[in-house]
Symmetry: C2
Subunit: 335 residues, 2 copies
DNA sequence: CTGAAAGCGCTTACAG
DNA sequence: CTGAAAGCGCTTACAG
């Protein structure tokens, strides 16, 4: 498995390694005879030469590697955005190296450390709770970094942010206007600001509406989403209360909740109305067409890679934040 | 963003870089005074030293990077296996670099080239149609390589293979024993051997059974899975033929087909029976509990990484193939 | 038009 | 117990 090197080409061609390097990199500065060029390209071809990017990286301090840390790559939302990131990155010549944090600060730190050792040119991360300090340190060292999906309080890190609060307000207003007697917000028991924005958007909109609507919260941990949601929905929907709407604030929550509904033969929107976050394949298998909040995944990926690339190439050194807008796709899952 | 190097530590500590290197790598061969050791560790800590793996890689020709090429990382099946691969790889100190081929040979080749330049220690690939030659070449160069999900004919490449034929036979027999009047196999119009194994397993089992059962095939391309399946299911199920079973040979096909059923109010298993491939979240949102073929994802990932690691460390140089067994999980989607 | 040489940040036999 | 030096595969200013 000994790979051909520039040295081998030089030896066979009877020229110096410098010359080979110039030819292979198509540098225009130094003009090299067409004969030599042709010979070098031919030899490279026949001995199957593949440049060693590691050596180049050591030289110019660029690996063309981008680190991506998400909570879990097997989560639909993250694998979808990873796919878009992959495409956008590739266009700029980067490849993606991935890691899943499982919302665990230690794992998150380990991945940062690992990627840092691998000399990635920059990182795109969905930061976990408590990662303020470690990320702040990176930013202070001018390490190219962009957050996605989430953001952190008290630190200034470049990132792509969804208008969580606004879209939740819009969605809540949409529900309020339908005069439900009861609206139930299904969320996480969490400290992550972007999720609290969703929750606050819901609460403040209800409060400000002045409408007489009863609200409840179902907040679950990460351990046993399906189990918790099912038992809590059972409590809440047990007496088949008329005119209730459920607001699922993430796709995972929606899958757990909708699964409960369908398996217990609770009809949407006849028995209960539903809105959910994110666009996932699974919704297609549900009897009703779910009204959902659509995040602009492709745009998020595009902006994230651009923002990172700008930092890497120092077009900009600002800790810029870009806010993108989600869209409420109205279908037939509410009365 | 200038990172601290071993040289900086050496300068501050007043020792040579060699000494620093020995200490940081905890080499036992050369005994170094506890004082020096302590000093070096302290300095490394305070100046926030992170070893440059690139430099190390150039030296020992190992990057601890593994390339993963799948058809599409946003596909549930691949993102799930990617997650398991990530975990298994991490345990052996590897990180994963990912790419999606979109079943496109040119993209596949480009990814192989890219990963090769990045000097990955090995690759785990779901090979696309027509990639025999390029993979064979890699194997001949003793490039550590493992195929997953699929395999190729006429070449000898180490890989993890599912017992596609056998599990399809079992599943078909399960359906045959239920005395359906009609069984419809929903598959791809493809040349990929593992998918043809599924199809052949279905056909030969029907033929050998001697039962009077009418069979049909719905074979779709990759362009417009949902559209094709829906229009073909409409043809086939239009007259509400009694006693029909559908066999979806992949999760994507199942999602498209089940979506059609649920949206058109065709009841499972009352109106039509269903079995499907793979275990995905989406099935939870379908009114019936789908009977499905469960692939041993974790085991597949485990074996793939092990097999690759063995090649990388030359414990073995054989083009080994490992066949794993899927399991038919019987639920209530068939009569 | 082409080559000798230094250097990127490490490791490691060898010498002392 | 510690250091000088060569080398991994490239790039690039400099010299000729």
């Amino acid at each position: 498995m000994k790979r051909a090197s520039i040295k081998d080409i030089a030896r066979i061609a009877g020229v110096s390694v410098a010359t080979v390097s110039y030819v292979l990199n198509r540098k225009e500065g130094q003009r090299i005879s067409e004969d030599t060029k042709k010979k070098i390209f031919e030899i490279a071809e026949t001995i199957n030469y593949v440049p060693n990017r590691i050596a180049k990286s050591l030289q110019n301090n660029k690996t063309k590697l981008l680190g991506l840390i998400v909570a879990d790559i097997s989560n639909d939302f993250y694998s979808s955005i990873a796919r878009h990131l992959e495409d956008k990155a590739l266009k700029l010549g980067y490849t993606l190296i991935i890691g899943s944090s499982d919302e665990n600060l230690e794992k998150f730190k380990k991945l940062i450390e690992l990627f840092s050792q691998q000399q990635v040119d920059g990182m795109i991360v969905a930061p976990v709770a408590g990662s303020e300090e470690i990320l702040q340190k990176l930013v202070e060292k001018n390490y190219p970094l962009v957050t996605i999906d989430r953001y952190l309080k008290g630190v200034n890190i470049p990132g792509i942010i969804l208008n969580n609060r606004e879209i939740t307000e819009n969605t809540t207003n949409y529900l309020i206007n339908k005069d439900f007697d009861q609206i139930i917000y299904v969320g996480y028991d969490t400290k992550l600001p972007h999720l609290l924005d969703r929750q606050n958007g819901f609460e403040s909109t209800i409060a400000e509406s002045g409408k007489m609507v009863s609200t409840k919260h179902i907040l679950v941990g990460l351990e046993n989403i399906a189990g918790e949601i099912q038992s809590k929905l059972k409590d809440v929907l047990g007496g088949h209360p008329a005119n209730t709407a459920l607001f699922f604030s993430s796709n995972k929550l929606a899958v757990a909740g909708l699964s409960y509904l369908v398996k217990n033969n609770i009809k949407v929107p006849t028995d209960v109305s539903v809105v959910a976050f994110d666009e996932i394949d699974a919704y297609q298998l549900f009897p009703a067409d779910i009204t959902y909040v659509k995040q602009p995944l492709e745009e998020m990926a595009d902006e994230a890679v651009k923002l990172l690339d700008m930092q890497i190439n120092q077009y900009s050194t600002l800790a810029k934040k870009i806010t993108l807008s989600a869209e409420l796709i109205i279908q037939n899952s509410t009365k």
